[in-house]
Symmetry: C2
Subunit: 397 residues, 2 copies
């Protein structure tokens, strides 16, 4: 339990993760998601892969393009993966992004617009898709498109009225953790080895992200004032531990690249604090939302256990351990691993259940829905596999 | 159990409901909600009445004005109730409704705009508030305001692009159950005894509401095609049993007034079917959402037990029983009563808990939040008290 991970243990974990990823998670999407008639992917898939709604959600289409392109780029040049990525990239290119660079939130099966949010996330997931697919396909058209779209998002990020979000005189000025997070992640995808030329943008995002971290109280807030102060409202007190943990590993990636040890320490702590605060000591698992002052969150689903905070915590804890070598991070990883693998994987039909109630019983049986697709489970598994392979090759950093 | 309600039983229920309403529910709001500095009500109130956010949600402000005006008009001319209603009505009049008749969704404590929905419900709850308060105060200004606002809402109801809702080419044309429901309820409040002059509008709403009722499959759909056909999508298959039950008693009120026996029968069935379909036979209580084909609803909170479907079912079942005298409706009422009174009331601090998990454990401890205020529990209790008094006086219809 509280000893360093032995090479044998690493190998065991790696095999578990490889098997889960390549034999049970990816095959689900390869088999059930492609829309062979109209392009893109079905993303509303029931437990066994049955399509229960044919609409196409752009966040999920973009993320799936990214995932298969990433596997093609970093794991193996399987033509099947490239072809699957192409199916989504072409659909997005044709239907998702308007001439003014706004991207829809959802489309009909054939690509007609259904809904557009007054947010920038659909655009962000198109950037991710186009950048990684451009690299996989060697098609500069997609690379250029990713950069153009990113530059547009960068201009919108500080003033969402530019994407139609109304502002009202009583609204307090706030910053949202999601914005610097997603931008840091996009730069990681877009820049690749050329990241030093992105340095000022990277620093800007890190600076803004750190405004959400309250080191004294060991909390990461979703919404803070422009100066980084807590706001004593429902939104201001909101904690989303899984999101903070995801921000932790985004930040740790950059801290490692930048060789910034103080930033590494902060990034490690973001995950540790959020896991400690977010863990349900009564029933296990990570809460979805909490209120920093202990009021009941107004989100009705606050105490549910969602798959994605756990997938983010798996990788974040393992990454922490790979950096610190500390028992605490290893114990955190083991705790998250044990909960996750005993609750989320569906051994019968593949992929993971996404939504459990507080006690860990499956609440929604579907594998894909408006906010769950081919992304968090396979991304985390793949990142853990890559990291475990690296640790096996070089067990002590 | 399965015998007609005896006069003694009616009296016992009536006393339980009176005690709950007048001694535990209303005092909570009278004591904790008034904002004595800035007008209106605090509606984000923790279990014990502590204010956890000072913003003011217009749905809830309007409903509370209606409730205290209604009590003043129909129960007793208590100056405290009128004064409490005035506090909210003046605040709404001053801050909530713009010159173009659009009403905000939320305001700061002092009345500055925070958010506006691209929907018509804020306006509807202002109509309810102004109409009932105008009657209570004898102030025609509010009556006139209610009628003006209602006429505006009536013009918006079929084309929400008039309140800024975007439409996209892929969207299927749909009808929403909520619209004819709320309009029928508003007409009941606005028209009073003058309802015959509203006949064509009443018929229009009833006709539209009935498009949502699938008599063959015994289902009430939230969203149907303009012609009333089922739509095979997530939204099209959505059932909200509590909402359908509320629509049942709205409809039964009108059917009784119109003396339309065929409509009475349909209204009675809407409640019966929805209670049977919506009941959780494993853990008790009414599910929040279901999918008509048995897929998992995408709403994460689908299996939670909310107070309001139960308050609506209490009154709807009792009203059904008062009309049919049937054992089935009496058993339904008793079943809902037993679940409701053993789960929702808070004997320590008053008012009812609003949100339970599937097993019936309190999930959110607050008494007031963005969508819960001084409305469903006291409205249902008051309506049940009035109905039980009538049944006691005249036990067989």
């Amino acid at each position: 339990m509280s000893r360093p991970m032995t090479p044998e243990t690493m190998q065991q974990y790696r095999q578990i993760y490889e098997e889960e990823l390549f034999e049970r998670v990816l095959p689900f999407w390869v088999q059930h998601s492609p829309d062979r008639d109209h392009g893109g992917y079905f993303n509303c898939l029931d437990r066994d892969g049955t399509v229960y709604d044919t609409r196409k959600h752009i966040w999920l289409q973009g993320r799936q393009v990214w995932l298969f392109s990433r596997l093609y780029n970093n794991e193996e040049k399987r033509p099947e993966w490239l072809s699957l990525a192409k199916r989504g990239a072409d659909f997005l290119d044709k239907h998702a992004v308007r001439d003014d660079h706004r991207a829809y939130f959802s489309l009909t099966r054939t690509g007609d617009p259904l809904w557009m949010q007054r947010k920038i996330f659909s655009e962000c997931f198109c950037v991710m898709a186009f950048a990684e697919y451009g690299r996989a396909s060697g098609n500069d058209y997609f690379i250029d498109k990713a950069h153009t779209l990113f530059n547009q998002v960068w201009q919108w990020k500080d003033d969402l009225s530019l994407v139609g979000r109304p502002s009202f005189s009583g609204q307090p000025a706030t910053r949202s953790l999601a914005i610097p997070m997603i931008l840091l992640n996009l730069i990681e995808v877009l820049a690749g080895d050329d990241w030093p030329s992105w340095r000022s943008r990277i620093d800007h995002c890190i600076e803004n992200l750190l405004l959400h971290v309250d080191e004294e109280r060991e909390l990461v807030f979703e919404h803070v004032s422009p100066g980084g102060e807590c706001i004593n409202t429902i939104e201001g007190r909101l904690l989303n531990p899984g999101h903070a943990i995801e921000a932790g590993w985004f930040m740790l990636h950059w801290a490692l690249r930048l060789g910034d040890e103080s930033l590494q320490q902060k990034a490690v702590q973001m995950t540790r604090w959020s896991l400690e605060r977010g863990w349900d000591y009564a029933h296990g698992g990570i809460f979805y939302f909490l209120d920093s002052e202990g009021f009941s969150p107004t989100e009705l689903e606050w105490n549910m256990k969602l798959w994605w905070p756990h997938t983010e915590a798996l990788y974040a804890c393992l990454l922490n351990y790979s950096v610190t070598g500390s028992e605490r991070d290893l114990r955190d990883f083991e705790k998250v691993h044990n909960y996750t693998f005993s609750h989320f994987p569906d051994h019968k039909y593949g992929e993971w259940f996404g939504y459990l109630d507080r006690r860990g019983d499956v609440s929604q049986r579907f594998k894909g829905g408006p906010y769950k697709g081919c992304f968090h489970a396979p991304r985390s598994l793949f990142q853990c596999v890559q990291l475990l392979r690296r640790l096996e090759a070089q067990p002590r950093q």
